[in-house]
Symmetry: C2
Subunit: 394 residues, 2 copies
């Protein structure tokens, strides 16, 4: 290791690599090619907005990982990865978006040169950045290798956070708190939504004291009224209006770590059904937090929430959360466990979930969510410190 520009200690990277190798051994793999930018960063520190071209990390059972990407991005690799510069590899620019040649041909050569022509190779089949074409070319170029789906193999190692990681997430959570308070304070009838989002982003990137804000993996979600019945609409330039609810799903980001949070603001007096739903949701969240303790399972959190909702005659099924931490666009979830009935992941101290029991109804949406840390004992700890309620303004 020649130097360490990366975010974490050498011991922390070593921990990550050891855990990943254990999982590789269990899966019978000689080598994995990791395309998920979050997994790349988690293993090597690589941090750049270059994931729109093919790149990845080669991890074998010994030695340092190898970062492989576009020639132009090697310099970024040298400046952000902790490995020896000899382990930063680049392919020529003529491969980029060519219809004649494909970067995976270069990767295949790199794997061959290292003796992996007949290896058992794990690839992330279900990842934004491993295209159907990439897989077709790589398997064609390495006909004697055996390929295995290693989707989420690294992601699962990320589920329990280290102390260093939790420290980053607490910083992110402080930024989230600042950002959410900005949104709640500024929201008022007549304010154009894009102006509010501009302030939200400004608050997030400015950060808190020395802790500068990084870009969250999802842009601020801030829909109002009927738009809030849809889960993922982004903003426009229309003014906020009296009599409408707006939900804010936001996250601060500290060096790629997230702590998402949602709150809903009603301009005026909320209708009775929404107030009743608020009460149900808040009690449900309390019950969920209480169920979110080491030894219990993810489905126990969902069940605790649903049980309370049922008492109010509200049916809420589906997914109610997911693990969060290090992430790149387009998603801040880790894509492993889910808080839902069908998932029985056992909770361990150091896991962090975005507990997300939002209610999207016919004519309004009510989002109140928390990023929660599973602790050694007792209920889960919400990382952000924003009052939990439906905010009424005006």
């Amino acid at each position: 290791m020649t130097q360490n520009n990366a975010a974490f200690s050498a011991a922390e990277y070593q921990r990550r690599i050891s855990a990943t190798r254990e999982a590789m051994a269990k899966a019978g793999l000689d080598v994995i090619f990791v395309t998920d930018p979050s997994n790349q960063a988690w293993l090597t520190g690589y941090d750049g907005w270059s994931f729109y071209v093919h790149q990845g990390v080669i991890l074998t059972m010994e030695g340092e990982p190898i970062w492989w990407g576009r020639y132009m991005d090697m310099m970024g690799g040298r400046r952000t990865c902790w490995m020896d510069h000899g382990n930063i590899l680049g392919y020529g620019d003529h491969y980029v978006q060519s219809t004649e040649i494909h970067p995976m041909q270069d990767l295949a050569e790199q794997l061959k040169a290292r003796g992996f022509e007949r290896a058992r190779i794990g690839v992330e089949m279900e990842n934004y950045y491993y295209s159907a074409k990439a897989h077709a070319v790589l398997t064609e170029e390495l006909p004697e290798a055996s390929f295995q789906d290693a989707t989420a193999l690294v992601n699962w190692q990320r589920l329990v956070k280290s102390g260093e990681e939790i420290a980053f997430m607490r910083k992110a959570a402080r930024i989230t708190g600042k950002v959410m308070r900005c949104a709640i304070e500024r929201a008022e009838p007549g304010l154009r939504k894009n102006e509010l989002v501009a302030d939200i982003m400004h608050a997030g990137i400015t950060g808190v004291d020395e802790d500068w804000g990084d870009y969250p993996a999802i842009v601020p979600l801030t829909p109002s009224g009927l738009d809030a019945t849809a889960a993922h609409l982004t903003w426009d330039g229309r003014p906020m209006r009296d009599g409408e609810a707006t939900f804010f799903e936001l996250s601060g980001c500290y060096r790629r770590y997230h702590a998402p949070l949602s709150r809903t603001v009603f301009l005026g007096t909320p209708p009775d059904d929404m107030r009743r739903a608020e009460e149900a949701q808040l009690k449900g969240i309390e019950a969920g937090l209480n169920a979110a303790r080491a030894g219990n399972r993810t489905c126990d959190i969902a069940q605790a929430f649903m049980d309370v909702l049922a008492q109010y005659g509200i049916e809420r099924s589906g997914r109610m959360g997911y693990p969060v931490g290090l992430s790149y666009p387009p998603d801040w979830g880790e894509r492993t466990a889910s808080i839902r009935s069908e998932d029985s992941t056992v909770l361990q101290p150091g896991m962090v979930f975005h507990f997300m029991p939002a209610l999207w109804m016919e004519s309004w949406g009510l989002e109140t969510t928390e990023s929660i840390l599973i602790t050694e004992s007792g209920a889960a700890e919400p990382l952000c410190d924003v009052e939990r309620r439906l905010f009424r303004k005006g």
Copy 2:
């Protein structure tokens, strides 16, 4: 068509669909499944931050396109697409990130139900949002269909912009101008980079007058000093320093349309080699703009630039630009033509490129770029109105 919440006229969507069907007929396809979020929006108006789950557009040779996605996002589809609500389809939440079942099983059912069990189906093999796994499942579920790579089939139809699209890009360009001027004005020794980025984002999202700012598909790239020798590093919290160059690669965004621009700011007095490179670059850009006229080819632009650079003893090969317009993260390029020696796309009026002849040297980077519109006659028109030079401050 029940209503039109979408950004463009009915005639404009019809134009797009007709052009795409012509390309499908030429490729011998009965149906395409379009996963690129930009292609989805271009065909249907769909606009939401939901591309982190499987979704797409089914386009056949007749009738309206069909938007297909997560059940939760149907509401967003209804609120942003121009089609009849019967053509907005959703799959259940239990498919999301399940290791047992896959959304492509639902898509296969939808295709079967419409008689495409044995059809010639085009899929975008090389796209961020069409994973290797998605392709494996879809082909397995439709064993009698014949699959064909339709990567960029829709993208190529987007290359020549309509009047309505150019109007959007001019609005984006006005926002870009505002954003870049903000960056240049604010840059000074001691200013923390994240604070500058916060202002840049605020300026962009606020927009210009009635034209509200949307999120650009790439975050602001603003590296300084040695970091600027790398192409794609994002910001941190360190202060700007005297004696360093910072390049700003930024875009305003108006309803998903972009007009990227780069300028470089030097705090203090730039070294001689950078000033010489500035002169070469500016002259090279002039030559490139002059070569960027209807009837010429993309490679002619690259050659014109390289010829000037060669006179200064600077070698610059590789890619120097790409078409821009409608886009979603992680890239604002359209991924069709390239401005480079190996590409001979014939230029037509209405094409817009990010002409991007950046110079990344040993110890500094110099980015001066333009979004250029190919006109009916004469040199290309830069869309933004920011003075073209290396800015010196302090």
